[in-house]
Symmetry: C2
Subunit: 278 residues, 2 copies
């Protein structure tokens, strides 16, 4: 890998910062707010920022850069796709619980739902994220999808993923803004009490974390290298019924044998696969 | 240009949407709020969203995609750099006035400055934007900067520009959230009065506009083509003291004649220049 030390610096920084975000949001709700519970009160609302920051900011950020980890380049592409999808799915589950928490809290407290810009942007982001997840599983994981469809949709997948991640961060910043205005009364937000300074700092750190993820995912030298084409692969693949150990290291879904057309399709698919890593 | 019709669709959509943003913010402050004035009151504050959305969202968005316009590909790179920098500079001036308006309004009304996450993220974005503007003028416009420095800084310039643009949009969304919470009292924001629906829609349109700009600037087929190298250029360049009309169509700052080393440096510089268009 080109610039491995620099990659390592950015990766470790983003991991440390990601964990810091989770610790910050826990300190916010456990120390400055009413803790965590499922009681229709503030403590139930508090699951919302905890799960959004853990799932939609931290885990989702790692899902975006997971193809870039050079230690995974020996793993099959299919395995990496499952890990990528699995992280997104984990984020999706946490986000659904986070949404239930806030709607349940609003209903219990007779606070109207879906009036703020935070809720509008947030809901659009969640719906599009779920749509992206389902479409991507159908298109990129289920091997029946034609290569041409995969290749055509890959740029949209990558662009959509990054745009949605920006939307997540924007929504989180609006959510923090709202919550501090509504919850800080004596002293108010404008007096900048310790909770305000602490949670504003969390907001700044979320932006820095997003910036690190964007840097890592847009460096061309840190891309996962192209998959080997059929011609470059071990002859065992074409001759042996029982594959050698190396066989399991490649993405079987990307490999079709015994035809030149299939080889060309594989090349396209590899390109599509590469674009998935930006 | 590859996919010209698609480019045209996205360009026209983003221009129409950009104008719509300006009209929306004007309707907000002129119809729903207290208009525009410089009187220390709400009408002075109103310059803040008007100038931020006009300068930092719309003009800045156009500045980001200006190298992509195929009609400009016959213009010299230097001219395009001046237009790119000029649009950024225009945005910077509007943003400074927008900042003065809000500080002046706060001071007149004895509202504390710089307590909200909106103000923290916003100020960081403005400071880094000004820094990026000054450094970029020194590095990419003043021809004394070594090519190696330009080439090394170009990826940071592109990344920084897009990250800051994301920061602008995030700050704008927080600003809208704050303003609607503070200004809507009877009926409150949570009752979703017409102003809330209208300004929430403005917030959604800002996100869509940012998404269009990101799509246009990240399509590889819509990049400005590489500058011709010295060897490919007209022989007039090396023989004639008075250049023919075509001479003015190339970026003189990128051209050094009479040495192979200079030619290689020009190649690097062209690459650096290309990266400036993503």
């Amino acid at each position: 890998m080109e610039g491995f030390k620099s990659f390592l610096f950015f990766l470790i920084s983003s991991l440390l910062l990601g964990f810091a975000l989770v610790i910050f949001v826990l300190v916010w709700v456990l120390h400055y707010s009413d803790g965590l519970a499922w009681d229709g009160g503030n403590a139930e609302f508090n699951w919302h920022p905890v799960l959004i920051i853990t799932g939609f900011v931290f885990i989702e950020g790692i899902a975006i850069i997971v193809y870039r980890l050079p230690w995974t380049w020996k793993c099959s592409k299919l395995l990496m796709k499952f890990i990528h999808a699995g992280l997104h799915l984990t984020a999706a589950i946490l986000v659904i619980v986070a949404m239930v928490a806030v709607f349940d809290f609003h209903n219990a407290k007779h606070i109207p739902n879906m009036y703020s810009l935070h809720s509008w942007v947030g809901l659009v982001v969640v719906i599009l994220f779920m749509l992206q997840l389902v479409v991507s599983i159908v298109v990129f994981l289920i091997p029946i999808t034609p290569v041409s469809v995969r290749a055509a949709l890959m740029p949209v997948h990558v662009y959509g993923g990054l745009l949605l991640y920006g939307g997540v961060i924007g929504s989180a910043l609006m959510g923090i803004t709202e919550k501090l205005i509504f919850s800080l009364k004596t002293p108010p937000y404008s007096n900048l009490p310790p909770q305000a300074i602490f949670v504003n700092t969390l907001g700044i750190l979320i932006v820095v974390f997003g910036g690190l993820i964007l840097w890592i995912v847009t460096r061309p030298g840190w891309k996962r290298p192209p998959e080997p084409t059929v011609k470059e692969q071990s002859p065992y693949r074409e001759t042996s019924g029982s594959p050698p150990p190396e066989y399991s290291k490649t993405d079987k879904s990307d490999v079709e044998l015994n035809s030149e057309a299939a080889r060309k399709r594989n090349l396209n698919l590899d390109e599509a696969g590469q674009r998935s890593t930006m």
